[in-house]
Symmetry: C2
Subunit: 434 residues, 2 copies
């Protein structure tokens, strides 16, 4: 993995390592939309400096996240504040073109995660007669902890590219869950890229430039912007709130729990196939939340459905957010304080034979539904080691028993095999092409 201080010199395989050392920030100074993140006036007048090559820290949400490593970035990376997620259809039927695209994407993605342009000096340096090789709207913005994470959908393993034999058994076609109301225009995809960053303009720029690089070979099938993370993936992060107003993901798997990640997130050698070892499976669900209806439910009903206090996030019957959920606490008449069908119990590892997932979702608000309501909700993203034994039983339990379903509509869905991290000299998903 590219570590602190190793800079662009550790990058190879693209031939662009040295040129790549010039960051957008160095070229143009820190300006534009990212400024508010770092502090308005200080940044506007700041001297142009080179972007530091370190993991983003408490003090610098603008710093880059290393692109290469054992696992892809964007899974246990401390959840950034914004996402732009895209699913592509592959429009070429040529295996070599697909492989070339993955090579080109890898080079562009690595550059952009360093806070650089999609190609060296791509926005304005390619000559006046050529279309720019970078679209330019992130010029002057820092890396903003951008991560780009690729996944391969079940449909990629049909007969077009000779990949049918490589399809992982865990990459199932998701079953239809009770009350699913999936929109085909928000579902599926041959490929996905999850862009996460602390500046949405940086995430949108990255997806747009990957789409531009892929012109003629891929087309955008659907995309989703998320504006507020709804999960923490590090113990250093505070638990955020979803649009029901509750803290979400208190008991999420965290980066600081390697044993839990090994058990529930990372594909092991014993799982196979070999090209997926160190990878994970991504499930995306666009969950419309009927917020107007929820907002008319009494506080006690909301808390009973969730199984937690709205203010503190503490499990019912407990004091602190991180107190364990205890199903044995009983109130008046011996009734459990946390109902058996409370969300927090149905989704717990105890109720699911130990199964856990890494949640990494975002809130969304996509205008209105034409009926006087906001089209808002949770863009659920999770990573798990085997979707058959983790996400599916969890969603089956929730979709059939959770009273919260009255306020939810699952209207988009995707399932993707996320290959392991990219080592020096490799490209995204190289193992798939042997």
């Amino acid at each position: 993995m590219t570590g602190p201080g190793e800079s662009g010199a550790a990058v190879n395989g693209t031939g662009a390592g040295k040129q790549a050392g010039v960051s957008r920030r160095r070229l143009f100074g820190l300006t534009g939309a990212g400024v508010a993140v770092a502090g308005l006036g200080a940044a506007a007048g700041a001297p142009a400096t080179d972007a530091p090559r370190v993991r983003p820290t408490a003090a610098d949400p603008a710093a880059p996240v290393p692109f290469r490593g054992e696992h892809q970035a964007g899974i246990v990376t401390p959840a950034q504040d914004r996402t732009h997620f895209v699913a592509f259809d592959v429009t070429t039927r040529d295996r070599a073109e697909l492989r070339d695209l993955l090579r080109e994407w890898t080079a562009a993605a690595e550059r952009m995660t360093r806070g650089e342009e999609a190609e060296p000096d791509g926005a304005v340096g390619g000559g006046a007669a050529a279309p720019p090789a970078d679209t330019g709207e992130a010029l002057g913005l820092p890396a903003s902890a951008l991560t780009l994470t690729i996944g391969f959908g079940p449909s990629l393993f049909d007969d077009r590219f000779g990949l049918a034999g490589q399809r992982p058994p865990a990459l199932i076609d998701l079953p239809r869950f009770p009350k699913d109301n999936l929109d085909p225009n928000r579902t599926g995809g041959d490929l996905c890229v999850q862009a996460c960053a602390n500046d949405p303009q940086v995430a949108v720029h990255a997806i747009r430039n990957l789409a531009r690089v892929g012109f003629g070979r891929v087309a955008v099938r659907w995309s989703q912007l998320g504006f507020g993370r709804t999960s923490s993936t590090s113990t250093a992060q505070a638990t955020p709130r979803n649009l029901f107003g509750f803290k979400d993901g208190t008991n999420n798997l965290k980066a600081e729990d390697p044993a839990g990640l090994a058990e529930h997130v990372w594909v092991a050698e014993s799982d196979g196939p070999p090209w997926m070892v160190g990878g994970s499976y991504l499930v995306a669900r666009r969950i419309r939340m009927r917020v107007e209806t929820w907002d008319r439910a009494p506080l006690a009903e909301q808390e009973a459905i969730v199984g937690r206090r709205k203010g503190s996030g503490a499990p019912l019957g407990q004091q602190d957010e991180f107190d364990p959920v205890d199903p044995h606490v009983r109130g008046a008449g011996g009734v459990p304080v946390i109902a058996e069908d409370a969300h927090v119990r149905l989704a717990s590892a105890e109720a699911l034979e130990g199964a856990r997932i890494l949640r990494r979702g975002y809130n969304f608000a996509d205008g209105s539904d034409g009926l006087g309501h906001l089209d808002a909700g949770l863009f659920f993203l999770c990573f798990n080691r085997d979707t058959r034994t983790r996400f599916v039983p969890m969603q089956r339990a929730l979709s059939s028993k959770d009273p919260m379903m009255e306020y939810l509509e699952h209207n988009g869905s995707g399932h993707f095999a996320v290959p392991p991290g990219v080592r020096d000299g490799q490209y995204w998903g190289q193992g798939l092409f042997g």
Copy 2:
């Protein structure tokens, strides 16, 4: 205007001034999505403190902006990084109910701009049997420079509320411009509220809670999220980039130019009607940008269309972004370096008999269009003293002469009379009800 250090004690007219002094931040500590703005780890472990009562500064994009004053906030307030804009249909036909709603909205809006809940202790303090009076997803988030700006659409002045005689002559039904392709579901509205903040969760929370307060009296007609400001409204702000990759709004009117604002933004006594003096007119346009087509245009063509260099933002033939646009500079063969139909010339005050507007737009990306492209562009927002003599001639020139139109589609539109600021004891638009 509530100034630095005056705190909630300066607030009156709602009866909630004292209780209102408890901020969300004080109750819950600084947590959640806003954390990245202030710095992740530092904030997560920060002691709970009272939100400062000052204008947001370079150092603190989380601070509150005063709600009351001569003009509404959110016009010359340094443009925040995010917006959630909503247009409402009024569903009641009762004038008194409309007035009551404006009173209730004013109290809730003022509280939320202070970083507080929509009602005191509204999220969890109203008793378990009642629906919460605040939806809760902003608990723990700071004020984030939230501004809420109300406007009244032409349709409010029909025969429902006895307001027909109060309609300002400047509040015209906008003409149809060449190439307009307006979607009725993204156009019009009796009322609008522009929420701007440096944290999108804070802006979304504010709009949602105003919609909740208005339940039974208003319904959401359309709403639009914007993720990156495309204009500066203060000389202290760097010029951001739009999704064509160009710096946008270099020559915008700025807060530091009171004479320019008086001439072009604020309604004067001589303009009338009396209830609009100190107000302004807001034009909203949802402008889809065909970014994939633009990205295939050569750099020279892009720069010729805009009339500026893409990298520096300098006018063609000049060196610096803020060098004046000089139409007299000629190149080889005596051809003007900046074409007569360049965007920067068509939109200039020189070409429009001195007319200027205050731009306050945002980039948007709303998923995909179902045809393999991103549904992305510019959510154009501007304020002007008289739309007939400023926005309309500008848009007429651009829509008929600007080669950039090949890459644009105006598919949403709104025009609203924005009343003056709210003085102590008053409510939004009180002058309209005499």
